[in-house]
Structures are given as C-alpha cells and as structure tokens.
C-alpha cells in the first residue's frame, strides 16, 4: 500500500513557550517532529512492513509544509524507515488549517496514495482540523483519533478503533481514506497488517532510527515543491491576532492532615 504521511515541526512541547508582547517568541526554540505525526509515521511503518523481515509491503512518502529547515525532521522520519519526502515551501504564518488541507489534497492528487495518515493534531496550534478538512476536500472517508488500525484481509479497507466520547468505536473505511493517529496507536499490538505474525509484539512508542537507517536517510530523496506548482492559491480563512499567557491560578496551601483538609473543603471552599 502507498501511504502519504504528513509531518509538521513544532516547538518542543516539553519547553514552556515564551510570549513577547502579543506574539510567541520562537527564538532559540528546539524544533521537533510533532508527536502525533511521529505516531502516524510509526503506524505507517507497521502497516507497510513484515516485522522481523526486510520485506516491504509498499511505499511511505513523508509530506511536510514548511521552511527548508523542516528537512531535519523529515530526515528523522526517513531514518525511521520512510522512503522519500516532499517538502512544500511555506511559512507557518501564511497558513491556516484550511490552506494546509488544500496543499495536502493537492499533493494527494499528484501522488495518489491509498492512505493519507496524519497526526490528529499539531501540538502547537492544537486545532485538530486538517485531516477532517482534507478528507472533505478529497471526498474520502475519515477515521479520526485512531487508537488501533487493522488492514482488512482483502486490502481494500482499514478497520480503525477510534477513541470516542463514550468508549472505543470501530469504524471501517474503504481505501483511499484519511486516518488521524491518536496516542494509543503506538501500543505494542495496535497495528495489524495481516503479514506481520500475530505473535510479534512491537515496543511501545515510535521506533528509534538505527545507525543504518540514519545513513540510508541521507541518500533518500526530498523533493521541494512550491505552493504555486501545486496550483493552490493561499488564502487563509483564519488569522491569529494575538497570543497571551493563560490566567495564572493563585497558589494554594498545603494542609497538615486529613482533618484540616476536610474542614477547609467544608467551611472555606464550601464544596462538601
């Protein structure tokens, strides 16, 4: 199967963001692969390999939309095992979810993958929109918030375990389709392709690149494209006006014991 995986670079989510005036101060931030995109890459690799063998079951193309520096994170995905990359040159400030989805849909039109696999959201903007918008633009079915992915025996559809409000839903989507990856898709038994033996257990989490993988990634192709070459007119529908720090919670107190805790909850906070 041919899988297109999208990858965004984001400021390291472990670092507290700096706000200068009404904008985010990105000087000196450490850029990393968006967590959910890394999970999408891992999911694609598990779908397209027969584990413990060198056999590949298809091609994995990494798509990034960003400045040339994003090639660093793309190389990481190539080192994990993806086959090649496409970078569409753009700056985050000129994009919104809708324009990103349009670019993704245009690349899908060129590449014609069987599956578009994306992180459920970028952990900087937290919008959680692009996979759904792209699916709508393509007229494809969508399986968002995937916690488990299984390729149907006939290879024509994918059965996805989705985290929904009431529990875990199972949804079947005919290929081509859009899947957005959630946290639990990287659990040891979450991805099944019918080729990797049932007995195989993956390590939890996305894989690390091997030395061999890193060497191989240097020779893998990253093709640069412009938005204009894709025939997309950038017209963002949403613009960011300002960014501010969230209201701080005032520091509380430490209570001495259970008796004091209950007394304060009852008499002071009046919640019991």
């Amino acid at each position: 199967m041919k899988i297109l995986v999208t990858l965004k670079r984001v400021p390291d989510p472990e670092m507290r963001p700096k706000i200068k005036g009404t904008t985010l101060d990105l000087t000196g931030v450490n850029w990393v692969m968006n967590t959910f995109d890394e999970y999408a890459v891992e999911t694609a690799l598990r779908l397209n390999e027969k584990a413990d063998s060198a056999e590949k079951l298809g091609e994995i193309v990494i798509l990034s939309i960003g400045p040339k520096e994003v090639a660093t994170q793309m190389r990481n995905a190539l080192a994990m095992g993806a086959d090649r990359g496409i970078r569409v040159d753009a700056q985050d400030v000129d994009l919104d979810s809708d324009s990103v989805a349009r670019i993704v849909a245009a690349v899908v039109g060129r590449e014609k993958p069987d599956l578009l696999l994306m992180g459920k959201q970028a952990v900087d903007g937290d919008a959680n929109q692009v996979p759904q918008i792209a699916a709508a633009l393509l007229g494809w079915p969508q399986a968002t918030f995937a916690a488990a992915v299984e390729l149907a025996p006939d290879g024509k559809s994918v059965i996805v375990g989705r985290e929904v409000d009431a529990g875990l839903e199972t949804k079947k989507v005919a290929l081509p389709a859009v899947i957005s990856a959630d946290l639990r898709v990287i659990q040891p038994k979450a991805v099944k392709n019918g080729k990797t033996p049932e007995s195989h257990t993956y390590s939890e989490g996305p894989r690390y690149a091997s030395i061999k993988g890193i060497t191989a990634a240097r020779k893998k192709e990253i093709k640069d494209l412009t938005v204009a070459e894709l025939g997309v007119a950038l017209a963002p529908k949403v613009k960011w006006l300002a960014v501010e720090a969230p209201p701080a919670r005032k520091a509380g107190i430490k209570v001495a014991d259970v008796a004091e805790l209950l007394k304060r909850l009852h008499e002071e906070a009046k919640v019991l």
């Binding site: 989510p13 507290r16 963001p17 706000i19 979810s97 809708d98 952990v123 900087d124 903007g125 937290d126 919008a127 959680n128 929109q129 759904q132 709508a136 494809w140 079915p141 969508q142 399986a143 918030f145 916690a147 559809s157 985290e163 929904v164 409000d165 009431a166 529990g167 875990l168 839903e169 199972t170 949804k171 079947k172 005919a174 389709a177 946290l183 963002p236 529908k237 949403v238 613009k239 960011w240 006006l241 300002a242 960014v243 501010e244 720090a245 969230p246 919670r249 509380g252 107190i253 430490k254 209570v255 014991d257 259970v258 805790l261 209950l262 304060r264 909850l265 906070a269 919640v271 019991l272």
Partner: protein, 323 residues
C-alpha cells in the same frame, strides 16, 4: 444578521449535558450575529428529544432517519452544511467533544468556512479565544469567511437552564446519504453508574502513583462517597489502570468541575491543561515537589494508601451529619 446553527447531542429523549453548553455558546454568538439559535438534532430517533430541545431554542431542526443511527462525519457533515444554508446561518457551533471535533472541520470544509477549534471565549462575531500549546497560551483568532464555524470548550460555557417548551420544531429530510465508504462496525461503551466526566460537579482522578488497576477501586470509593465521576491521568490510562475514556488532559477530556481531586497525580502539563479550570482543586501526593501542588488550592503531602481511607471515612461521617 444571521442565525447560529447549534448542534446538540441527545440520549433517548433527553438532551446531553453538553447540549446545554452548546446552546450557551450558540446564544452568545447569536447575540453578536444579530440572529437566533437554531438547534440541530440529528440521528435515528432524534425526534424523541425535540420536546426537550424546544425548551432551550426558539427553533429546532430535527433530522430523524434510521440511516443516521451512528454519528458518521461522512453522512452528518453534508446535512449540517445544507441545514446551515437553509436556515440562513452565519455560524455553526458544536461542543469540542470527540464527536464535534470529528465533524465540524468537515462541515467547515463543505461550507468553505474558516473554523476555530476548542473556543474558550467569544470576543465578537468573528473573533475567538482558544487555548494553544497544551493550554500554555491563549490565542485570539479571527475568521474571515461569511460563515464561521466553531467548536466550544464545554467547560467554559455555563449550561443554559431549560425554559418553557416554546420552540418551533421543524422536521427536515436527511436527503441522499453517502457514507463515502465509511461504515460503523461497533462500539465498546465504558458503562458506569457514575456521572459523565464532562458533566460532573465533582471528579476524583487517579494517577500513575495508584500503581495498579486493582488499586483504582480506592479512587472509585472516594468518588462514590460524593457522587463524583472518576478520571485518570494519561500515565494511569497508558499503564492500563483505567480505561482510555477516563483520561483527563489536553488529549483526553477537558473538565472544569466545582471540585477536582488529583490522587497520586504528579501534574504533567498535559494533565493540567485538562483540569486547571476547575473551581477548587485538591491534590494528594507523597512528593511535596510534584507540580500538581502549584495548581492545587489544597494540597496534602501523604501516601494515598494511608490518607485515602481516612478521607473516605471523614467524608462519610460528614455526609451522615448532613442528613
């Protein structure tokens, strides 16, 4: 002038708690748009909830069709888009639960509209505040399209109180339905007699420090003394101590109850993003340096194995004295 199409969820003949928050957000936006709230009920048997919906909206559009039993974005989104146009809507609103998050971007795309997700405040007809970076910053965003689409963070919109059943109910046909190759297979529902996390006034959550799924019964026991919902940190759900849909946090459920108990939860940014809007936060942790103490109104440094039974006893006594 435009109306605000507001998607409300129901269960049998009742509205879900989230519906009342959706209407609250819809009303705020309707005021800015100079129109009225048009509530939208969609699904198999949706008609049964119309009587309740009449109590919260002047106009209720019901699309009741057996083919809409399951909330598939592929089949629901075109109906939302069509009804929005029929009702002269300049805004479409739903709460930012998983259903709303799955559906509304698809609706926005069909309406060629800009969308703001997880809105925490409505500034004007086209401008919204929303948390970004796991709640570490708040962005103000402006939508430039004639129709605006938002999902509203349920915990930030106080549920409306139903009034007299005065709303007009309009039944609309589902029309052609094309699931685009998507098919609902099944659902594994986590059943609980406790309140839903997103509606609960009190929540007791357990973290990695609970050490096992077995020990989670102590968290449940505390919850049951207060009629509370049970939640968990991501570390606890990842470790299998609690089901995934118990997860409170940026990537789980965002909650803001009157009282939130964090038991043996360290307080990772991810978790704090999902609960720091709670009115009163209590934490119990044996590590006095745990970040959770920085957001807790009342912190108790103690081992849960010792303190939790004491708290349960004390609350039972307090409740008994209140009878």
């Amino acid at each position: 002038m435009g109306n605000v199409l507001t998607f409300i969820e129901y269960s049998d003949s009742a509205l879900r708690g989230s519906a009342l928050s959706a209407i609250a957000a819809g009303r705020q936006l309707a005021e800015k748009h100079g129109g009225e709230v048009v509530a939208l009920l969609v699904g198999k048997g949706a008609k049964a909830a119309a009587a309740e919906a009449q109590k919260v909206a002047k106009k209720v559009v019901v699309v009741d069709d057996a083919r809409l039993e399951h909330g598939l974005a592929e089949t629901y989104a075109p109906i939302f888009a069509r009804v929005a146009k029929e009702q002269g809507a300049t805004a479409v609103v739903a709460v930012a639960d998983n259903l709303g998050k799955d559906l509304l971007p698809r609706v926005a795309a069909l309406l060629d509209a800009g969308m703001a997700s997880d809105v925490s405040a409505i500034v004007s007809k086209d401008t919204f505040k929303r948390p970004i970076l796991a709640g570490n910053a708040i962005a103000t965003v402006q939508i430039g399209t004639p129709i605006v689409v938002i999902t509203a963070r349920q915990s930030e919109f106080r549920p409306v109180v139903p009034g007299a059943p005065e709303g007009q109910v309009i039944e609309a046909a589902a029309g052609d339905i094309d699931a685009r190759g998507a098919e609902f297979v099944g659902i594994h529902v986590t059943r609980s007699a406790r309140p839903e996390l997103t509606d609960a006034k009190i929540i007791v959550s357990g973290g990695r420090g609970m050490k096992s799924a077995e020990n989670f019964k102590f968290v449940e026991e505390l919850a049951d003394t207060m009629g509370a919902a049970v939640g968990a940190s991501r570390a606890a759900t990842d470790a299998g101590f609690a089901p995934a849909d118990y997860q409170v946090g940026q990537t789980g459920k965002v909650v803001a109850p009157d009282l939130y108990w964090a038991i043996a939860i360290s307080g990772a940014i991810q978790h704090l993003a999902g609960m720091k809007g709670s009115k009163t936060i209590v934490c119990l942790n044996k590590d006095p340096e745990a970040p959770i103490f920085q957001v807790a109104d009342y912190g108790l440094v103690a081992d849960w194995t010792k303190a939790l039974p004491e708290i349960v006893d004390a609350i039972k006594k307090l409740k008994a004295s209140q009878r």
